[in-house]
Structures are given as C-alpha cells and as structure tokens.
Chain length 392, copies 2
C-alpha cells in the first residue's frame, strides 16, 4: 500500500441532502427552527464541515437552521468569511471564535459570539448537542426569549440508520482499516514490540489517506481490561490482540481488531480462540433486521460461558458512522436506555472477546469487524483475516 | 528510533499528591465536597486513571471526593471491581457503565448509575466538568438535595501552572514529538505525498511509546486555513508544513509544527519564512513571567504586518498539559475571557504562521514548539529543527 487508497467518489451534494432531510424531519417533529452543535460528528452530519482537527478540538460550534443553512464558529479566522467553502454552499459563514482551548475555557466570549448570531438568525427554539451545561445555562441568560432543548440523545437516534452513500463511506474506511491490520500483522514476529505493531498500523492508515487515527490499543499478556501498549516484546507462543480505528475520507469510521499468534499458541488458548470464532459466527448469523441488540450480546456470552470461557465483559457490538462508537449498542439490557432492534442500513461493529487461563496467566483473545445490516443479514465491510493465516 | 523512548520514571504517587492538593484547595474555596468528571484530561488530573481509549471515548465518568478518592465508571467491566488498580489506591472502584457510545446516548442509564453512587457517597455539592446539559439536568432531578456546580472553566484555570513533575512529562512528550518530526522530515523529497509524511510521523510517535496520536495536519499548496492532507505530492520548490501531536506516557501532550522546503524555495517564500522566524524570536524573547498573553500575540502579528506578510489568523500560543490545547491562550484580547499573564511553571506552545503570495498562489509557512515558562523566560521543550537543515 504505497499510495492513498482509491476512495469512492461519493456525490457530496446528494449525501448532504440525505442527511439534511433526516435532520429536517427531526427538527419539524421536535418543533426546532435551529440546532446548535459542538460535537465534530454532529457538525459533519448537519453541515458537511470537517471540524475534527485534533483529539480535543472541542472549540468549534455550528448554528444550523432546520433547512441545513449553517454558520460555523472556528478558531482559525480573525474576521468573518462569507461563503467560505465552494463545495459547501450551505455553510454561509465562518466566524472568529476562541480556540486552542475547550469552549468552556472562555465561556463569556463563546456565549457572546454565539448569542449574537442566534439573535441575528431570529432563532426561537434551538436543539443543542452535548454542550457543557455552563455554556447552555449562560446562553439561556443571554437569549431569554429563546428556548434551548437538549437533543443529543435524539441526534444519535436519528443517525442510527445510514443512507446508502454513508454506507459506501463506512465500507471504504473499513477496507482501509483492514489493510492497516494486514500491515500490522505482517510484522508480527518474536521480539517485535506492541508499540511497533501499533506504529505500523497507524502509518498504513495515514498513508492510505484517512482523516484521523482514532485509537491504537492492544493487549500482550495483559489480562482482562488491559488496553494499552507497554513496550512488551512478542514471544514465541504469545497470543496478542490489537484494536485500531480511523475516520476515512468523509469522516466515517472503522473500528476493528485482530488476534495474532506468534508461532504455535498453547492448546487451551487456540481452543479458546476457536470458540471465540464460533461465538462470533453465532452473533453474525443471528444479527438481522428485527433482532434485539441484547439478544446478540447474550448469545455470544451464553456460548462462551457454556465452554467455561470468560465472557465479553462489555458491549459486544456498537453502531459505527461519523462517530467511531455510536448507537445502536449490543449490551446487557440493563446498560442501555433502549434495547434497539436491528434495521436495514445500520452499520455496526461486532467485537467479542474471551479469556482463558493458560500457563498461570489470563490470556485474552478478541476479534472485531464492521458490518452493514441488509435484509437477509450482515454484510462484512472489513475484510476478514483468515484464522489460519493468523498463525505466523 | 527503533525502540520505545526512555520515558522518565516520574514518582506517580508524588505527582498524584501534587495534583490532588491543587484540586482540594479549589474544592475548599468553592465549597465542593465532590467533583464529577467526564473529560479524559480532567479524570487523569484528578485520579491518575487513564481514560482516553479512543478519539470519542466520552462515556467514562469519575466521581471524586475533594480528597481525591475516586469511583470510576467504565464500559469494560460488567460487575463492580473494588480496588482495581494496584498503582492507583485512590481509585476505590470501577463500576459498569454504558459504553461504546457517548454518555448522552443512554442518559437514563448513565444518570441512574451515577446518581446511585452520588447518594452512596453522601455528596452534597458537586462541581461538574463539560458534561452534556441533558445529563446534568437529569442528575438534578434524580438528586434533588444535591447541588451541581458547573466548574469546567475553573478546572482549566486550576491546571494552568504545572507542577515540576508535570513539566518533566510535557518535556518527554515534546522530545518524542521532536523525534517524530525529524522522522517525517527525513523522508521529504519530490514525489513523496503529504499522507506519507503524516504516516511516518505517527509511526515514529507510536514506536516511541506515546499513549495517543492527537492530530496529523498539514498544508501543501493549500493556502490559508487548509489543514488536511489531500494526497498532494511534494514538488521541487514547495514549502510544506505539518503539525503533529501526541500524548506521551502519563498523558501529557506535545503539539508542534515544522516547515520543510523541497529543494530551493521561491525567494519570496524563503524571505517570508525568515521573517516568520524573526517574529517567533520576538515572541520567545518577550514571553516571561508577568507578560500578558495578548501582548505576545500582538507582537508577532505587528511584526508580520510591518513586513507586508499575512498575520497569524488564530491564537499564536496556547497552554499544553493533559489536554493538547488548554489555558492560557495567546490570542487577540477580544477572543479571550481573561487576558492571562504568564507565570513560572506554565507550559505553552507557540505557533506563528504567515502567508505570502508567490507564483500566483498563497503559500503558508508555520512553526510550532513547546516551552516551559521559567523565571528568566522560556525554556524550549521540543528540540528545535535548524532552519538550514529544513532545506532538503
């Protein structure tokens, strides 16, 4: 993979129209004339504007009408720029805004600038996403005739089912993430460190042109709940998992994981891995429109428990879209507000893990792929790595 | 750089004690008995717990007493684990929590679980960080006798001055980020793409053992306001900047940028770069305890304007710590709530840019390094890349 991946040439205007139509329907139902957004995924969905600059870029804001006309507040202009982006005619202006620090570091300035545009827009009832309570309370004082309606939960629910153009972009990100996992797998050998494997994966993602590396986690002889590299060298016989992700071109994510074996694993570890794959198969067969998310979670853990293996101690699945981890989630019903049913057009990650005692230590194995829900069941978006090939 | 960087062996208990003392002082002044946190940087500061798993892991929460005793809510356990981390005796429990989706995707469950622990802790007055307004309002309904005090601004102000142990960690991250910039510079040549340069940088960061790649931005012939790779091949004569960052071991950040020239740049571009370095020198000479942040910003832009060059259209400096971009910020005074003065022990990034018309296009050049404020002025934490060496 020497050059950028051949990303699909999605019709951006059509994609924006599809997302705006969905938001407009929601706004009309909720009686909102505008929405005010701070989360990069929500800003991208509502406006097309790419706001995810750094891991912490929580300083942008977007005021969007129910029709999708937007004003965006950014840190990198010092005067208002009208119609700043030829490809995004819906973005009417970029306004100067405090930046290089979270929005809540400069609440008075943030509120003054946003409240000024709210007044100019004549907004009356505004849905807001996951904005700091301090900022919303100050906006309410600054705009006493405007109603601010916390709406982040609703926004996540609106986005659960993807438009076909969104699915194309999730699939492209998943393909690239698969190539990056292959690149990481290709250097697995005794003496190679967890750090080196994660570095190889990130390089492959970025060389392919992803917008953002979302995470680089792994577990080498770390036991359950270990997520982080610690300069561990792989040894003959090790089972090792890594879990990586990215936002591809267009901002849609992929989140996936692979287990690698260094040489011949212990018999009990390999058996656990085979059972993990069997549990995974059960989840994939079960997942289709109309099935409850908790049922998928339960099916995996029931199978693993019957084999005397460790259960997946977290949600075995989650939605994937403009946010790496979003609704619907496949967890124990007690940890979800709504036990969603799968619908055609949802994109999900499935990520079972199991653990087994071997040689006096707990060994964790895990696998994760991305799928789209179609009428007859799941279609894989990541490229499965053959289990046999995982034996180095 | 084949192996992990030799990270400093900081006394974690002493570091935690220093941070807790600062928070306790704040809580006592504000009359808070607990704080409730959702931001990974605040959770790390208050508890030592590493919560930054993915770019979007906004599902954790920590309830922390004014004395630093913490309960942490995480997605990867399905039963409460008491005293889960030997190195963090202050973390009393990990509790199951909804995850793999933002906290606001499951507000009822999130509030039920957090409110239960608030009641058990007997908390009466709780400072909260940048938590979704919907969640705080629901907590107020669930815990009518508890007062929730929006405190994120205050938390950022508390953290502005670093403890000496924190400075050691910012410096280590800055050294590693410098090595990553060197690795990226080493492959600059005609025909190499922006994607490849960013990939090389991220690989170097991760191989060195950083906790997180925070951003990968660049500008090749993009004009002002362009931040993103677009599969642009470097050409003879190009000026190119990239801006990369990471969280090192311990979670402290580095944010830095370099301009590279491919062969001989146009005369006007090279002159602009020399003026940029002169403006940078002015900022570095000016920055010392007692100087206002806006004065640093103004000095850079006044110099650039006098040369007929484009000004830096954003804050030319920002704090750096457990968050990549935090207070204090060096911006135009109209974009800050408080025009802070520099104090000994602050860690800052300075990042001037300028732009010049050359060959019918706007070329942007930029440089960024990290510094600690000492009594006599700034001490560099990143390793400066010699300007001459930037000529490939």
């Amino acid at each position: 993979m020497n050059r950028r991946y051949d990303w699909p040439d999605v019709d951006q205007a059509a994609l924006r129209a599809a997302r705006t139509a969905r938001l407009k329907e929601f706004c009309d139902e909720a009686g909102l004339d505008h929405i005010l957004l701070q989360e990069p995924d929500n800003i991208r969905y509502a406006t097309g504007y790419r706001s995810h600059l750094t891991a912490d870029s929580a300083w942008h804001a977007a005021l969007v009408s129910a029709d999708g006309e937007a004003e965006v507040f950014v840190e990198y202009v010092d005067e208002t720029i009208e119609n700043p982006i030829a490809d995004l005619p819906n973005v009417r202006a970029l306004h100067p805004h405090p930046g290089w620090s979270p929005a809540s570091a400069n609440p008075r300035t943030w509120v003054r600038l946003v409240a000024g545009r709210i007044a100019a827009a004549g907004a009356r009832r505004i849905g807001v996403d996951a904005i700091d309570v301090a900022l919303v309370e100050a906006l309410r004082r600054a705009c006493p005739s405007v109603e601010f309606v916390p709406s982040s939960t609703a926004f996540y629910r609106v986005r659960r089912v993807k438009d076909p153009l969104e699915i194309v972009l999730v699939e492209a990100a998943s393909r690239v993430n698969s190539l990056a996992m292959d690149a990481a797998m290709s250097i697995v050998a005794p003496g190679v460190t967890d750090d080196e494997i994660l570095g190889e994966a990130a390089r492959a993602q970025l060389k392919a042109g992803v917008e953002f590396v979302t995470h680089s986690v792994c577990n080498v002889r770390g036991g359950s709940g270990a997520w982080f590299a610690r300069n561990a060298s792989l040894r003959e016989g090790d089972a090792y998992f890594f879990d990586i992700g990215c936002y591809g071109v267009g901002g849609y994510g992929s989140d996936a994981a692979r287990t690698a074996f260094v040489g011949e694993p212990r018999r009990e570890v390999f058996q656990a891995y085979q059972h993990l794959l069997a549990a995974y198969e059960i989840a994939r067969d079960l997942a289709r429109p109309g099935v409850r998310m908790s049922a998928i979670h339960r099916a995996v853990n029931d199978y693993l428990s019957r084999q005397g293996l460790g259960r997946t101690p977290y949600a075995i699945g989650h939605g994937i879209g403009l946010r790496l981890c979003e609704l619907p989630v496949a967890a124990n019903a007690s940890l979800m507000d709504v036990d969603d049913t799968l619908e055609t057009g949802m994109c999900i990650a499935l990520e079972p893990e199991t653990s087994v005692e071997a040689g006096g230590a707990i060994v964790v194995v895990k696998v994760e792929d991305n799928f789209v829900v179609e009428e007859t069941g799941l279609r894989a978006l990541t490229t499965p790595y053959p289990a046999e090939a995982a034996l180095v």
